[in-house]
Amino acid sequence: MNRWKTFLVFLAVMGPGIITANIDNDASGITTYSVAGARFGYDLLWTLIPTTIALVVIQEMCGRMGVVTGKGLADLIRENYGIKAAFFMMVGLFIANFGNTVADFAGWAASMEILGINKYIAVPIGALAIWILVVKGSYRFVEKVLLFACLIYVGYIISGIMAKPDWAVVFTSTVTPNMRWDPEYIYLSIGIIGTTITPWMQFYLQSSIAEKGIKKEDYKASRMDVIIGCSITDIISFFIIVTCATVLFPNGIMVNEASEAALALRPFAGDYASLIFALSLANASILGAIIVPLATAYYICEAMGWEAGVNKSFGEAPQFMVIYTIMIVAGALVVLIPGAPLVLLMVLSAVINGLILPFVLVYVIRLINKPRIMGEFVNSRGYNIVSWSTVAAVALLTVLFVFATLFPVA
């Protein structure tokens, strides 16, 4: 009886953690995993375990803050560190997330082309559909759509299984750390962390938990949701790497894009595996394109104290509407205009993500240790050691990632 009750509470608070973690596997994440698998086979699989641990440690703190304070991270940064900190954080987040949105529209366009739909049709329709879903749809409907879309990620697991890997080798590679002094190898292993732990996730998770109004008493269930969500993200990443490693690596096929991977799968793994891979990419991209612009507009307005809400008119919430519209319209246009600096934007977005992440993480740890805000829910001393070392490691690696992106060795 008691166990049932716990389970029911879990179901009620489930959602934020799982949705956040799934959207984390957006177009740029999938690209990184595909490239990693095709280039180095199973060798990079082991990086997923430390990445998951770091992700759980960081997301758990944000989840806890959301439950205890009932406020978003942008709110807390503005209230405790003043407007300058919040403003520059938001400018960074805007540019980085604009890059993410473009990447998502690009992923959508590429996967639709594989399915035989021209991008000049697919992208405008996609953008319009997102607009209508968000502006006209109700909250419950949007959440249902999102949870359903999260299910489609299972497609990657299916295509992983269809690739028929040698599971014994896969398992050994996953648990054996394998360091190599190859610049590309190091770049990709840091890239996996860089695309998995991105600043907007902390903001998104905390806001949606605060939003759901989860009570302190139900915090344990909420923590479970966060941990399960983080694990699911990396299980999906795992299967993407496995698919590309099993099929593309032995044949020496290099890919630079997730969509190329989907195409390259066809001759070796069959039409279905390729199709499922492409469909999952389309799903991940459109999901990212729904959430990222909307979330960005919300944080910025939250931090600056502007009226926000999709059910408000342009006159009532002008800043919100302008930010939201720019992200979607400009994001879609960049993908459609021939010769637009797509690659430059991606690099810029990755660099800015990497540059603001250390700041976000330091704010998170400092906020969570303030008894004034968190009361008895501050970090314990032991947990502080774990979280500070995680944050230091992640921050160091992302800065390295930024350097490697700006000054490619190859």
């Binding site: 300058k84 909250y139 600056m304 926000a308």
Partner: protein, 420 residues
């Protein structure tokens, strides 16, 4: 006379403070705010030097403007300031926080605070919630003005006078005026509910606790169930009982049904006996059925009284009822036998009996009927209230059209704060 004219708080923060000889004794870190007459005023300036905090009382401040801040004191005469003290600090507790603009009924963020010299004191007269405040804090107010002037447009001021500011944090209560509270109680309850659901749980409860009983009851019924439970949990049982007594019994039952059983029982025991019985009756029904939706407050008369008598009785009985659409006619066993609309009653010949004017063929549902079916019947037959009867045709209550509308089109405050 330390301050003449007006000044923004951001103009003085981090500015050096000089002693009479012109040496720097520290930099302005914060100011302590106390209740003043007519508006809150600064009682002391807190300065920081080499990581230590010191307090300079307002009387020891010589000049206080945006260029120079000086004190009569020397560095060695400064009092230490303990950061753990429970003073109200403008930067820490007011700046960057959310407040309610009672005039515009909006939640806004404080970008800056406007001070004004008055009888030797520095009064807090307004909060800046506009773009100008943001630009000033970022240090680009003047440059932005120049750029905008080039385009022939101007930056507007967006200040909220302290008179209209309703705080969302308990520590700010000491320095607020009663005006905003009165203004809040004049707002439409639906707007109030939206304000409460826009802010964090703690801030929402602070705002809610400040409302008078009647306003609180109205706002509560507009909130979504989880929020209702939060609000009720935040106040003591006695007050909760008083608020629920103000509400219609069906709404009170809705609130109670979402609380933990223990708490609901406790509150129910504190409620006035008669009211408690009405609520108890309604609590027995499933939430999404006609029984869960209905109210057991309605008007019903025997068939043999005259129209004149019915009107007479109605004037007395309807006083405590929110809205009346129909008068039901019941026999001595309380079985529903007919209905007449208020309009028909008023237009009818005064000497006729109710049984003469009533419509005997009447649509009704059982308490177990699904709420969507109820909505369909109300929509199909264009009625404003649908009676609910038990298996013996005894009238239990009515479901009115506004109860049904809330299911089909939930108001904003019941839908959740945002759509992400």
């Amino acid at each position: 006379m330390a301050l003449f004219g007006e000044l923004f708080l951001s103009d003085v923060i981090r500015k050096p403070v000089f002693d009479p000889k012109g040496d720097i004794i520290g930099r302005v870190k914060d100011v302590i705010v106390v209740k003043g007459d007519p508006l809150p005023e600064i009682s002391a300036v807190i300065v920081q030097r080499k990581g230590h905090l010191y307090l300079i009382r307002w009387l020891s401040i010589n000049i206080f403007n945006k260029r120079i801040i000086s004190s009569f004191l020397y560095a060695d005469a400064l009092e230490d300031y303990d950061r753990l003290k429970e003073d109200l600090l403008a930067v820490r507790d007011i700046l960057d926080k959310q407040i309610v603009d009672a005039n515009g009924a909006k939640v806004v963020r404080v970008n800056d605070i406007k001070l004004e010299g008055y009888n030797g004191t520095a009064m807090l007269v307004a909060v800046d919630v506009g773009m100008r405040g943001i630009l000033r804090r970022l240090g680009v107010e003047n440059r932005s003005e120049d750029i905008l002037r080039f385009f022939n447009s101007e930056l507007s001021y967006n200040l909220i006078s302290w008179n209209y500011m309703q705080p969302l944090r308990p520590e700010l209560k000491a320095i607020t005026l009663t005006v905003p509270r009165q203004m809040l109680s004049e707002l439409h309850p639906a707007d109030l509910a939206e304000l409460i659901s826009q802010v964090s749980r703690e801030e929402g409860t602070t705002l809610f606790k400040d409302l008078d009983l009647e306003t609180a009851a109205e706002a509560l019924s507009e909130l979504k169930p989880e929020k209702q439970a939060e609000m009720i949990n935040s106040i003591d049982t006695e007050k909760a009982a008083d608020i629920l007594e103000e509400m219609q019994p069906d709404e009170a039952a809705d609130v109670l049904s979402d609380l933990p059983t223990e708490k609901a029982k406790e509150i129910l025991e504190a409620i006035d006996k008669e009211e408690a019985e009405d609520i108890q009756e309604l609590l027995g029904h499933e939430e999404d059925t006609a029984g869960g939706l209905m109210t057991n407050i309605f008007i019903a008369y025997p068939p043999d009284i005259t129209v004149a008598e019915a009107i007479q009785r109605f004037k007395k009985d309807a006083e405590d009822i929110e809205a009346v659409y129909y008068i039901y006619i019941i026999d001595e066993l309380e079985r529903l036998i007919g209905v007449t609309s208020l309009r028909d009653l008023l237009l009818a010949d005064q000497n006729l009996k109710l049984s003469d004017i009533m419509i005997a063929k009447i649509k009704s549902v059982s308490p177990e009927t699904d709420d969507m079916v109820v909505a369909e019947i109300i929509s199909k037959y264009n009625i404003v209230a649908l009676p609910v009867v038990d298996s013996d045709n005894i009238l239990l209550g009515i479901v009115s059209v506004d109860d049904v509308i809330d299911i089909i089109l939930p108001p904003a405050a019941k839908r959740g704060r945002r759509k992400v």
